[in-house]
Amino acid sequence: MTRISAGNLKKGEFIIYQNETWQLQKAEFYSPGKGSALMRAKIKNVISGKNIDYTFKSSEYVETIEVESVEMQYLYKDNENAYYMDERTYNQYTVPLAVIGEAINFFKEGEKMFVYVQNEKPLCISPPMSVRLRVTETEDGVKGDTVSGAKKTAILETGASILVPLFVKKGDIITLNPEIGEYVGREKEI
């Protein structure tokens, strides 16, 4: 463990706060001009997945912990956990679904992503910026409907649903941001 001033905290770091481990989702400087400067942080509990906002004084010390980021293959999930494998060692790791959040619904088995590991214990994952998934079900867009920004629901090969533009068709491969569950674009078939 290392003690650093909260003013130096950066997104992605892991800290100990109230005896639990949290990952910084956001850290932003803020100065009200009446008292010491502050660091406004959004932190995610690596056990429960709970997000909270907390404001640190820039000069107060915060315990940070060293965490290794290991690329792993997502194997499968059950009702409570997701299972990953380190392809170098074939070791398997278990991550609670609550920690991964909604992103899990957009992962295909075999998808590669980074898992944060501390002392051989997985803490949480770093979802990929984007994933590619096939649309298995969606209504055909109504012809002549050119209203910009209009959306419809599409079911993806993982079973998850997402809002897509009207021109997306069944069988298309789309890219999306799994962390926020948002459509990014459509891939042209080769």
């Binding site: 932003e28 400087f29 100065s31 008292g35 406004r40 004084k57």
Partner: protein, 334 residues
């Protein structure tokens, strides 16, 4: 690269220009004199928590320290002491140790204005009038605008004393808020790390953590007023000395500006100034030259007046429906 051009921000940049034009129109119509001021000064009035930029003027073998002004206050108050009357400054100010963030830039545009013969609550009414004027220039409606999908009405303030805001948002009562020991104890039981930190430090931490995010969220801008004397800065105390006559206002959880009845007694000013300087020394802030002549300038009679400060970048961010002040800039330096 440390310098980025952001031509995509042009529409929002143009809204910022319209807001500045609206501010100038408003004050000119109201008879305030626009004051153009130096941004470099050889001395400053001390403010505990504002760090400054220092630079140097050189000519042949002469060298002289200069400071970028963190606020136009020292110049405007000298002029008010000389009887200039109602006036305003709209321009750049500089604060060191404040890195770029969604609400901060080390150099930013400040509106500071002074009205003679009125108190802080009167000026709060005028601030609202100014906001309505800007809204009418920008959106065509003086009484409301939309920010991030929420309608904000400028028909009135949501008014809360600071004690009411603390009681409502943090469960800390007025009697605890105004008494240092009780306040720190209460903060400790709430889980804040108070050891080695001052009342001011914990006060601003709780404001940022528990109070601010809830202000200006009920469809109106919120004005919070009557601060503990310890947080007076240069605000005048009430006749019973129990509160500092200071207000701040918030829109969508963001502090946009505030005003206070100004200290008009030079002895009081001098003792507060000394306290600020002592605090700066304790914190290891830049030891700048103090504008001692300022006290002389106000000795001969400083009129009762109220001063207001508004962060124009933050205000423009709200009216331009932006999430960050960076969205208003054509050039971004980091």
């Amino acid at each position: 690269m440390d310098i980025q051009t952001k031509i995509q921000n042009l529409p929002k940049y143009k809204i910022t220009l319209e807001i500045k034009a609206a501010i100038n129109h408003y004050f000119q119509n109201k008879g305030y004199l626009q004051i153009d001021l130096p941004v470099l000064s050889p001395a400053l009035i001390p403010e505990s928590y504002l760090e400054i930029f220092e630079t140097e003027f050189r000519y042949l073998d002469m060298k002289k320290k200069l400071y970028l002004t963190p606020s136009p206050e020292l110049f405007l108050k000298r002029l008010i002491g000389q009887g200039i009357g109602n006036c305003y400054y709209l321009g750049k100010t500089f604060r060191n140790s404040e890195p770029n963030s969604s609400l901060h830039l080390p150099e930013f545009t400040m509106l500071e204005f002074y009205k003679v013969g009125v108190g802080y609550k009167d000026l709060a009414t005028e601030i609202l009038e100014l906001l309505r004027y800007i809204a009418r220039c920008i959106s065509g409606s003086a009484y409301s605008f939309i920010y991030q999908g929420e309608k904000i009405s400028l028909a009135r303030w949501e008014e809360l004393t600071l004690a009411e805001a603390f009681a409502r948002c943090s469960g800390i009562s007025g009697s605890d808020l105004f008494v240092e020991d009780k306040f720190l104890q209460k903060a400790k039981t709430k889980g804040y790390n108070t050891s080695g930190f001052s009342y001011e430090d914990i006060f601003s931490q709780i404001i940022a953590q528990e109070i601010e995010p809830n202000l200006g969220k009920n469809g109106y801008p919120t004005m919070v007023y009557d601060f503990p004397p310890k947080m007076a800065s240069l605000a005048k105390l009430s006749p019973d000395k129990k509160i500092a006559e200071r207000m701040e206002f918030y829109i969508d959880g963001k502090e946009i500006g505030g005003c206070c009845t100004e200290v008009d007694n030079w002895r009081e000013y001098k003792s507060r100034s000394a306290r600020h300087m002592k605090k700066r020394k304790e914190m290891g802030s830049i030891n700048h030259k103090v504008d001692n002549e300022f006290v002389e300038a106000i000795k001969d009679g400083f009129p009762p007046c109220t001063g207001a400060g508004i962060g124009v970048d933050r205000l423009a961010m709200i009216f331009a429906n932006a999430k960050s002040i960076g969205e208003l800039k054509l050039i971004e330096v980091s």
